[in-house]
Amino acid sequence: MRTQTAPRPSAPSVENPYLPHLARITRIHRMVPDNYLFQLRFADEGLVERWTHRPGQFVELSVIGTGEAPISISSSPTRRGILEFCIRRAGRTTNALYRLPTNALVGIRGPYGNGFPIEEMEGNDLLIVAGGLGMAPLRSLLWYALDRRERFGTVTLMYGARTPAHMLFRDELVSLANVEAINTLLTVDADPTGTWAHHIGLPPELFKKVELDPKRTYAAVVGPPVFYKFILKELLDRNFSKDRILMSLERRMKCGVGKCGHCSVGYKYTCIHGPVFTYWDAINLPEIV
């Protein structure tokens, strides 16, 4: 077949994309049981300076001797030198991470994935809708927008968690409730302690509290499958265009660089083509949600 056949591979002096860089755990914030916030700093100071990422990207985190896991970046690239990851204790690698003390060394490689299409989103209104652990990747976008506030129209955050105790970044987000730059709408399904001062009810109810202009708004939505179902309905009922709804998927991104095959969803690799997909991409991919 006389088509785009591969050229003879060039010199093998390419960078090794599988090589983890050593990083030190500088802080462990026990935010929510089994959902700690880990702050890391590269051992190589040059890398601390060089490192940059896009909101919505992820890294491969190595717990040396245990393995690697894909972890979304919770800090914003606007805060140089700070790398934060909200990590759920879920599998072998994250369980091993929870056993490590502050100052221990781990491995980091990346950043991987497409991230949010920031250039396209700037100049528009921004609606961030998070459910449960979906706040972990969206916090990067949230702080990017707040630090580059002049580049966006109105910025709205809707976040729903089961109870106040389950809310990631709770103190930080509650403090945003009185900040003028952002319309912060927080809700919990239930409040067993009776001390929650914000909305109580399911996340779709928050849509009653805002005016949205679907023509000039990008919606970034991350949450559990059932959450997508209800939030997408709210957005589509308001005539949001399918390519202005952005979602981030979680799969088994083992290599992060489009080789190992584990994160494939339909025809795409989550690690290369995603993890951020438009709703239009999503409905055209089998097995996506």
Partner: protein, 352 residues
């Protein structure tokens, strides 16, 4: 392209220069089949063979490979030294060279080339040889029965000699080093090549129609065919182990007793295995067997086409030969095209 010829009787003399280019690997007998391995003597090498049990992929993406040594304090040190061995892979059929060219698109190109694969590719010379199709080959349907790149030399039988296509400067070095063994071909040699090559095209007995297959797969996504295949499939992964273009791998850290130092190892994996799409926390995106076998077909015949412009299949027939449940890709394609019996009376699977 430079074209030479070598009398068949001189081939063993020519082969004697190859050690200068690396360790020789060639098809040799292995049980009732064939395997690419190191021949003890030239007479072990089978120049006429149907197909090897495993494709040449094993020499570029080994079944098990140490990628790093690690130490909790010192970090990671790569094991690229393992990939530096010079090798000559002799006697590769066109469809298998095509399989490597397809792997190149994933592992040698794009934003993240794989240095282990690249080094092995770079350090391994490839000498192709023409082949006669048997009932299981359908390389012609997959446009992989001829290649025009991906080899250093390619030998085609023209009777009492081989016509030799010189694909690279390393291939030319081999020809030059062998002295005056290789000669200029004549018009009559070209005529004989053309006659034999069209006869070989005509010799393919198994065909599938690729034309509108991606669209038909879109239409048949909810077809009952996948459930029927899922009921027969044993999830053994044999089809992916013997596939020239399957490349899924798993990665694990191995540590010794009483130490935190160890190795990071990658090994072959298969999308037919239940753990393939399992994520931490227990969610499995392809829990049913039917969803996994469907995924394999869609990835090769639909997804890869969307991404790289052609299916990741070369029509070697190994998957059908290896399947203990008798699942044959050519039958599956006919089934979803509505041309085949959904319950074909399959013959017992035969060895490669």
């Amino acid at each position: 392209m430079k074209i030479l010829k070598i009398p068949k009787g001189d081939l063993d003399l020519f082969v004697s220069v190859l050690p200068a280019f690396g360790e020789l690997y060639a098809p040799v007998r292995r049980g009732s089949g064939y395997a690419f391995d190191r021949p003890v003597t030239w007479s072990d090498v089978e120049l006429t063979y149907s197909r090897t049990i495993l494709p040449p992929r094993k020499l570029f993406l080994p079944p098990r490979e140490e990628t790093f040594r690690f130490d909790p304090q010192a970090g990671f040190r790569d094991r690229l030294d393992e990939a530096a061995t010079k090798r000559v892979l002799f006697g590769v059929h066109a469809y298998d060279i095509y399989g490597l060219n397809i792997l190149d698109r994933v592992f040698a190109q794009g934003k993240f080339p794989d240095p282990y694969y690249l080094a092995r590719r770079q350090n391994t010379a490839i000498i192709g040889i023409d082949s006669e199709p048997d009932d299981r080959h359908f390389a012609r349907s997959m446009n992989a029965d001829f290649v025009d790149s991906g080899f250093d030399l390619f030998l085609s039988d023209i009777g009492d000699a081989f016509l030799v296509l010189v694909g690279t400067s390393r291939g030319d070095d081999m020809a030059v080093m062998s002295g005056c063994l290789l000669d200029e071909p004549t018009e009559a040699d070209f005529a004989e090549y053309k006659r034999r090559s069209s006869a070989r095209r005509a010799a393919y007995r198994t065909h599938v129609e690729l034309g509108d297959l991606p669209e038909i797969l879109e239409m048949e996504y909810h077809s009952q065919v996948w459930e029927e295949l899922g009921a027969r499939c044993l999830s053994c992964g044999s089809c992916s182990m013997v596939c020239p273009t399957c490349y899924c791998f798993d990665v694990s850290d191995e540590v010794g007793l009483g130490t935190r130092a160890g190795s990071r190892v990658r090994s072959w994996d298969s999308c037919l295995f239940k753990s393939h799409a399992l994520v931490a926390g227990g969610e499995n995106f392809r829990h049913s067997r039917a969803s996994r076998i469907k995924f394999r077909f869609y990835h090769k015949q639909r997804g890869f086409v969307a991404e790289y412009g052609r299916p990741s299949c070369v029509g070697c027939g190994r998957c059908a030969a290896a399947c203990p449940a008798g699942i044959d890709i050519t039958t599956v394609i006919r089934m979803i095209r509505g041309q085949g019996d959904a319950h074909p009376d399959r013959p017992a699977p035969v060895g490669a």
